[in-house]
């Protein structure tokens, strides 16, 4: 239904790389999690990262907004190099929204407060403006009438959509999705994927870690396949799914398709 071709002229993939990861290595203690990662993401590009469990895909995107620290190599987001400088980290985090597998909504405040909290305290928006943005985003993700409820009163799919709205409210340039549908019942996966597709069509730069091959095929501009901490294969969805090159990729695809 949605297709790459439907993206209008303004939303075409840019020339500039908005995320550059160069020769990045990461260890957990002695364990080498990410090995010589070189990834570039262009503006308005949708990149889907797939791979077996433990291949390091979540760790990779968590490095991008410094939820995990890398030990070697460079990560440059929107021209800002990710270093130990708190200001750089803050600046990058303001430009990147993140959606988690477990939603991670704040259970002690209402949905609308979840969405306005960071707007008010980080972006310093007045309450009224923040709430207006929050309500329009809730409408955009299709749950305008749940604003006053607490997260615990919503279904998983609704919670994840709130989480997307919460990230979008900061008006990030990049959205990171860390297995956004893995904790959802099959019935609810679609409602979240629809929101993500809509987002992709609107021209958001997205990096999505997922097992939803349908989504990858339909929406992704590029697919990255990772295994054992390194990037095994990168390609367009058509190329990737129809004609995988690497043995490991073929094995993986044969198991899940």
């Amino acid at each position: 239904m949605f297709n790459q071709k439907e993206k209008n002229e303004d939303n075409r993939i840019g020339e500039e790389a908005i995320i550059e990861i160069r020769d990045m290595n990461k260890w957990y203690g002695d364990f080498h999690v990410l090995k010589d990662i070189n990834v570039e993401v262009k503006e308005r590009e949708v990149v889907v990262i797939i791979g077996p469990s433990g291949s390091g895909k979540s760790t990779l995107i968590r490095c991008i907004n410094r939820l995990e620290e890398h030990q070697q190599g460079d990560i440059i987001v929107d021209g800002i190099e990710l270093t130990n400088d708190v200001r750089n980290i803050g600046a990058i985090r303001r430009e990147t929204g993140m959606v988690f597998q477990q939603f991670n909504l704040f259970p002690h405040i209402t949905v609308i407060e979840n969405i306005t909290l960071a707007q008010r305290h980080v972006r310093r928006r007045p309450k009224a403006e923040a709430e207006e943005i929050a309500r329009s985003l809730l409408a955009r993700v299709g749950i305008p009438d749940q604003a006053e409820k607490y997260p615990g009163q919503l279904s998983g799919g609704q919670q994840q959509r709130v989480a997307i709205a919460r990230a979008l409210a900061m008006q990030p340039k990049i959205m990171l999705f860390d297995e956004p549908t893995s904790a959802l019942d099959p019935e609810m996966i679609k409602e979240v994927l629809d929101v993500m597709k809509e987002l992709a069509l609107s021209g958001m730069t997205m990096i999505v870690v997922t097992h939803e091959m349908g989504f990858a095929r339909e929406v992704a501009d590029r697919v990255i396949f990772m295994d054992a901490g390194h990037v095994v294969e990168v390609g367009t969805p058509d190329h990737f799914f129809e004609n995988p090159q690497h043995e490991r990729t073929k094995l993986f695809l044969s198991q899940i398709l």
Binding site: R93, N104, L105, F106, P107, H108, Y150
Partner: protein
């Protein structure tokens, strides 16, 4: 298989109608089900139920018997003020009253705002309490009589063992106008020895000894009879060749005892009890005029009168017999004491007196008070003393020598203890409860008129101000003078202006602090130059003249706190938006006052001769419930931020902070509270000479704070650790700073998660404060210890402990009840995603 099914279409079933809901079987609902399931579901359960019933029955009957029959509750009613306030200055008592009323008012509002669901139950309880407080005393007084006072009269000595008792001829007592007095022979009570031994009521020494004589004699007779019976049985058995009942040694011992047994003469006959006419007179103690008199000859004779006015009276009771010749008297009495009795015109009379009761004398350096125990009638004043006749103070009917003897009957219990106690606390409590209702009503009104937010603001700021009010009123504040108010207002205005400035221009905190210092110095200089006769310590002058280190410290503290409050308040500010009431700012300002006052008062250097000042109370005088409340409230309030800081510190990434906090927490948690208490008492004075003047109650508060902060920190840390790591990650990913993450995301959730643990800690802290009695503070337990060494209340420890256990139970239960409500209530926060 499938063929088979197809061949049997009957087997295929489709539900066409939804079955209607039916009521469950009768035995499966209601009380019967409950009783069966909970009390009798198995044999073991039945046994447990029976054991439980037996235990409950035994303890209830045992306890209630003791409460009614044996306990001396005068120890509570007479010491009620001590239990509540200790030796807190009487002149400042109104402050405690005001604090209590303000607190209850605010709590009423809090109920209306947050826990409305209990309002109905509370209202009903309040109505029941008020009604019983107001209605029970008159009902009890109308239907029950006070016990009699039994007094001896006569012209001989009463010999018991080695001591002798002589009836007083004249004895003083306090009386209230309209008291009806009736004096007659105690005839029913001396009908036989049994009755005399079981006499119950207030008794003077003579009556008490008569009672003992009768009782001892009855016991001796019973013992002798037992021996004789055993010996007789033994001899009979021997004679018949049966099995001997006693061993040889026992037999010899018992026969010896029988041979030696001396049974005292029956006291009723021996002392010619009530055989002689008695002249009873009541005199006005001031004029020595006889107000009423009567000669009692027969049991029906009675002296009755209604006292004309409050004051001292004298009861004179003498034998109305012709004078006995002096020599004869001597001979007879010495002979008689050993043989069959006294001459007919000698002896003792036992009078049953209604309307005259023993009283207790309390002397302080200001005044003397005589309190009539059973009904609390009091005569007090600087010049009040017992009447003086012929230059000698007359003995008065004093409760220590006229105690209640015998088993109390329910009637006396109700009339002597319950009714006066209800009267004593009745109006106060009624007013207090009505104040609570007023607070509730006001919050309701606010809610209806100005919305929920206003009402809940009112209640929460009210609750937060209780500790400040408590400190200001109970401790007193010489800072609390007009001038201090001016300075305070100036500071507030200055801070507000600064706050506005920082918002507009985005000044850095450093500039704010600098500005704060300048403003405060300015205020100090202006106030100082303007020529007011300011008390030395109230000015900022100490800053400039290097005088009085502590007040200077306090000012500095203010300088730090105000900008801090501004800075913290500013954290959320959105440029261009209108400034709202800023809680951290005002909390900071209150803290300045509060901490400043605390530190300045620590030295107790200054008293101010202005009538506007609340003079500092001497913290050494705090006692009873007051001390317990101060220890608990400040133990919680001050330990709370400290505990949060320690908890965060222990989770810090900075090793120094982390290990310091860990070391502190483990050290304190590893020592018993009592050692922390002693440490504070003994070590703090060593630190500096100024601190050696710190009253021991402050030192105890410091110990409580230090102790509970460590436990609080661990509770809070537990709450923080129970949060899924995703919460912090999500906050970070949104760009919140770590301080914002703590303040907005983790801490609120962590605290909510550990409410039960926190409340549990507060409750145990409340009870643990009793340990301060060991370091010499007179808290509730300490006072019970002090009480039982008073002559009047020897042996009333159990009464005292039972009473204070109620004082501890009620607030503890309320705390845990409220915590349960908080857990159950709101914010959906107990739900996890």
């Amino acid at each position: 298989m499938s063929d088979n099914e197809q061949n049997r279409p009957d087997n295929y079933y489709v539900s066409q109608t939804e079955p209607a809901a039916k009521p469950p079987p009768a035995l499966e609902t209601g009380a019967i089900k409950w009783i069966y399931e909970n009390l009798a579901s198995s044999i073991l359960n039945v046994i447990l139920t029976l054991i439980g019933i037996a235990i409950i029955w035994l303890s209830i009957t045992g306890l209630s018997t003791w409460i009614v029959r044996d306990a001396n509750w005068f120890s509570i009613t007479a010491n009620f003020r001590n239990f509540m306030l200790g030796r807190y200055e009487a002149a400042y008592e109104w402050r405690a009253t005001w604090t209590l009323f303000i607190s209850v008012f605010i709590m009423g509002a809090a109920v209306a705002v947050w826990i409305k669901q209990i309002a109905r139950t509370m209202l009903i309880s309040i109505i029941i309490i008020i009604l019983s407080l107001q209605l029970l005393p008159p009902i009890i007084n109308a239907t029950n009589d006070l016990p009699s006072w039994y007094a001896g009269a006569g012209n001989v000595e009463l010999a018991v063992n080695q001591t002798t008792e002589v009836p007083f001829d004249e004895i003083a007592f306090i009386g209230q106008a309209e008291d009806e007095i009736q004096i007659q022979f105690a005839s029913d009570d001396i009908a036989d020895e049994e009755a005399l031994a079981n006499l119950n009521g207030f008794v003077d020494n003579v009556a008490n000894q008569l009672r003992n004589l009768a009782g001892n004699r009855l016991e001796d007779i019973a013992q002798l009879e037992q021996w004789e019976a055993l010996v007789a049985e033994h001899e009979e058995a021997l004679a018949e060749g049966g099995v001997p009942v006693l061993t040889e040694a026992q037999y010899l011992e018992f026969t010896d005892e029988i041979a030696d047994a001396e049974i005292a003469p029956p006291p009723i006959d021996f002392y010619n009890l009530n055989q002689n006419p008695v002249l009873v007179e009541i005199l006005d103690a001031g004029t020595l005029d006889v107000v009423a008199s009567a000669t009692l000859t027969t049991p029906d004779d009675v002296l009755s009168l209604t006292l004309p006015e409050d004051g001292w009276y004298i009861l004179r009771k003498t034998f109305a017999v012709s004078d006995v010749d002096a020599t004869t008297e001597d001979e007879t009495s010495s002979d008689a004491a050993e043989s069959e009795g006294f001459a007919s015109n000698e002896g003792i009379a036992l009078l049953d007196v209604h309307g005259i009761y023993p009283s207790a004398k309390r002397e302080s350096n200001i005044e003397t008070a005589f309190t009539r125990r059973p009904d609390g009638f009091i005569i007090e004043g600087p010049d009040v003393t017992e009447p003086v006749v012929d230059g000698e103070a007359l003995p008065f009917i004093d409760i220590i020598r006229n105690q209640y003897r015998g088993d109390k009957i329910l009637q006396h219990y109700l009339r002597m203890y319950v009714s006066p106690f209800f009267t004593q606390i009745g109006n106060y409590t009624t007013l207090l409860l009505l104040t609570g209702i007023a607070g509730y009503w006001l919050a309701e009104l606010l809610w209806a008129q100005a919305g929920k937010q206003t009402a809940s603001r009112f209640a929460s700021y009210g609750l937060m101000s209780i500790p400040v009010i408590l400190w200001v009123l109970i401790n007193g504040m010489y800072l609390f003078s007009v001038m201090m108010w001016l300075i305070f207002i100036a500071m507030a205005i200055a801070s507000y202006v600064l706050y506005k400035l920082t918002q507009r221009d985005g000044l850095t905190p450093l500039v704010t602090i600098a500005g704060g210092i300048v403003v405060l110095l300015g205020v100090g200089v202006v106030v100082n130059v303007s020529g007011f006769d300011l008390p030395r310590l109230l000015t900022v002058l100490p800053l400039l003249t290097d005088d009085a280190a502590v007040p200077r410290f306090m000012i500095w503290l203010g300088i730090i706190f105000v900008p801090l409050a501004i800075y913290l308040g500013n954290d959320d500010h959105i440029p261009g938006e209108e400034v709202k009431f800023n809680l951290p700012l005002w909390a900071g300002l209150s803290l300045v006052l509060f901490v400043g006052a605390a530190f300045a008062l620590v030295t107790n250097q200054v008293t101010i001769d202005t009538e506007w000042a609340l003079q500092p109370s001497d913290a050494r005088d705090w006692g009873g419930m007051l001390l317990t409340v101060m220890l608990t409230v400040y133990g919680i309030i001050i330990a709370f931020p400290l505990g949060l800081a320690l908890a965060l510190g222990r989770r810090s990434d900075l090793p120094l902070i982390k290990y310091l906090c860990t070391a502190y927490i483990e050290l304190v948690r590893g020592s018993p509270f009592i050692t922390v208490l002693f440490f504070a008492q003994l070590f703090i004075p060593l630190l500096s000479s100024e601190l050696s003047q710190v009253p021991n109650s402050y030192r105890a508060i410091a110990a409580v704070i230090a102790f509970s902060a460590a436990y609080l920190a661990e509770n809070v840390r537990g709450g923080l650790q129970s949060l899924p790591p995703g919460q912090e990650e999500a906050a970070k990913a949104l760009g919140l700073s770590s301080w914002q993450t703590i303040r907005l995301i983790t801490m609120p959730q962590a605290l909510r998660a550990v409410i039960p643990a926190l409340v549990g800690q507060f409750i145990s802290l409340y009870k643990d404060t009793t340990l301060v009695s060991i370091v010499g503070l007179i808290d509730l337990v300490g006072f019970v210890g002090a009480m039982v060494v008073q002559a009047e209340f020897i042996g009333t420890r159990l009464e005292g402990l039972l009473f204070i256990s109620i004082l501890f139970f009620i607030p503890s239960y309320v705390m845990s009840y409220i915590s349960r409500l908080l857990e159950a209530s709101g914010s959906g926060s107990t739900r996890r995603m």
